[in-house]
């Protein structure tokens, strides 16, 4: 698996993947729907898979002395790694933003712990839809990305709408840390758990469909 991850980084990596990590700096914008920043990582995942199609990455990988399912395992590990790095890189920007800008975010959820609950939930949804569709037919990666993006943004808009309409979201979650810390931590845990469940389902489904594909 270590060699496959090395392959993902050394030859399969699309240059936008590391570049988009830097877009965590968008957290410094005072008023912005911060969940969008994490969509860029999903975009990088799409470019990575698209570039894989153009470079015949699956055909190359199939020739290697590995099991077929290892190709899917490596791709999932790489994507989870990328998403975790994105979260880690964004944390200092959250602190910096809140240090520099005392006002809350007028365009959506504040840059706080609950925001990361939303982010994990959204990334989990993206993984679930994108990878299940992608591994049904890796040549139609654009279709997988189109559908998963629509769902991502729809859910994101609903989450942002909750911030303006539902008192619990508006008055407790959409506040500066460490106010209502326990509620925000619950939100974070729920997001992480859903991320794990959705990504786990996507992984199992992807392995099963990919095994059946002919090349």
């Amino acid at each position: 698996m270590r060699n496959l991850i090395y392959k993902e980084i050394k030859i399969a990596l699309h240059p936008t993947a590391p570049l988009f990590l830097l877009l965590s700096a968008l957290l410094l914008i005072p008023n912005y729907p911060y969940e969008v920043i994490f969509f860029y990582t999903c975009l990088a995942v799409f470019f990575h898979c698209l570039s894989g199609r153009e470079n015949h990455d699956i055909e190359y990988s199939l020739l290697l002395p590995i099991q077929k399912k290892s190709i899917v395992q490596a791709r999932f590990l790489f994507v989870i790694l990328l998403q975790m790095i994105q979260v880690l890189v964004s944390i200092p920007f959250v602190f910096l933003r809140n240090y520099l800008i005392p006002e809350g975010n007028q365009a959506g959820m504040d840059a706080n712990i609950a925001l990361f609950g939303n982010v994990f939930f959204l990334m989990g949804i993206f993984n679930l839809i994108f990878f299940v569709l992608y591994y049904r037919n890796p040549d139609k990666v654009g279709k997988a990305f189109g559908i998963s993006s629509i769902v991502f943004f729809t859910v994101m808009v609903i989450l942002e709408a909750l911030v303006f309409t539902v008192p619990f979201f508006r008055d407790q979650l959409n506040t500066r840390d460490p106010m209502y810390l326990s509620q925000k931590l619950i939100m974070l845990v729920v997001g992480v758990v859903l991320y794990v469940i959705f990504t786990g389902i996507a992984y199992r489904k992807s392995i099963s469909t990919f095994e059946k594909l002919d090349f």
Partner: protein
């Protein structure tokens, strides 16, 4: 123990079926796998490595089932499909640096030697290589992990005659010097006459001939006939026939010849293939 044993391999598509393909490869021999385009050669080769899932059939490499020993078996084989199509913009050096990590028995000295022998520049990218050089790079990768069996899917297609001949010399050297076993699919039959010992002939998804190349060829003779001579009784003896500028040329099994004095002459592989295919279509 045979290097590769295939038994009852079948795969159905809506417009094509691979039917009960069975054969064995003996160690240290070049086996030519012939058949016209669309006969099922690539499907067969891909089925061997599970790129295509066969409907049924048993495949064993080195006496081991591929399903159960995929990792070990892939260490011992090299699959070359008409040169590389992957990572066309990456330097060969980079592709190699990734690929070799997967092979514990990678022989760097042998790799350098093959680069030198094939005149490959590691700073080039696959896109800038000729078709022949791409095949040679694939071979260098396969041979540097000490592949004992090479599955070559039309490696000489699209190459000029000199490059083809060069490549055939390489195959002969590999068998003589390294004892490598080669299964070599092609529709260019003259290539096989130069280097193959054994032959597998696939027509419309079915093996219709296998064994020693010379013995296969010696089963047949050719003869030319005028239009008037091509009578219905004569046709019942034919293995195949095709039109010529004047009359017909006909292929017969040596043990099933018509009565009468005709001028028979030996059949080469290309003639056998053309006559069998055309005769079937007629």
């Amino acid at each position: 123990m045979s290097v590769l044993s295939v038994s009852g391999l079948s795969k159905s598509y809506p417009s094509f079926s691979l039917k009960n393909v069975s054969f064995e490869l003996q160690e240290g021999a070049i086996t030519g796998f012939i058949g016209r385009n669309g006969a099922g050669k690539t499907t067969t080769l891909k089925s061997l490595l599970n790129f295509v899932h066969p409907d049924k059939g048993e495949i064993q490499f080195f006496g081991q089932s591929f399903q159960e020993h995929e990792f070990e078996i892939k260490q011992k084989i090299g699959f070359v499909s008409g040169g590389i199509s992957f990572y066309p913009k990456k330097k060969l050096r980079t592709i190699t640096s990734v690929t070799k990590r997967f092979y514990p028995q990678w022989d760097e000295a042998a790799y350098k030697e093959y680069l030198k022998r094939f005149e490959l520049d590691e700073d080039k990218v696959p896109d800038s290589l000729s078709a022949g050089m791409k095949v040679k790079y694939s071979l260098a990768l396969a041979l540097s992990h000490r592949a004992k069996l090479l599955l070559l899917d039309e490696p000489t297609s699209g190459l000029d005659p000199v490059s083809r001949d060069d490549l055939l010399d390489v195959f002969l050297d590999l068998v003589e010097e390294n004892g490598v076993t080669i299964l070599f699919s092609t529709h260019i039959t003259s290539d096989l006459e130069k280097c193959a010992e054994e032959i597998l002939y696939l027509r419309r998804g079915e093996i219709i001939g296998r064994g020693k190349l010379k013995e296969f060829q010696n089963q047949f003779v050719l003869c030319n006939f005028s239009k008037e001579q091509m009578t219905e009784p004569l046709k019942s003896y034919l293995a195949g026939y095709k039109r010529e500028k004047e009359g017909f040329s006909a292929l017969f099994y040596k043990d099933h010849l018509p009565e009468g004095n005709f001028d028979y002459y030996p059949a080469d592989l290309e003639s056998i293939m053309i006559h069998l295919e055309k005769g079937e279509l007629a």
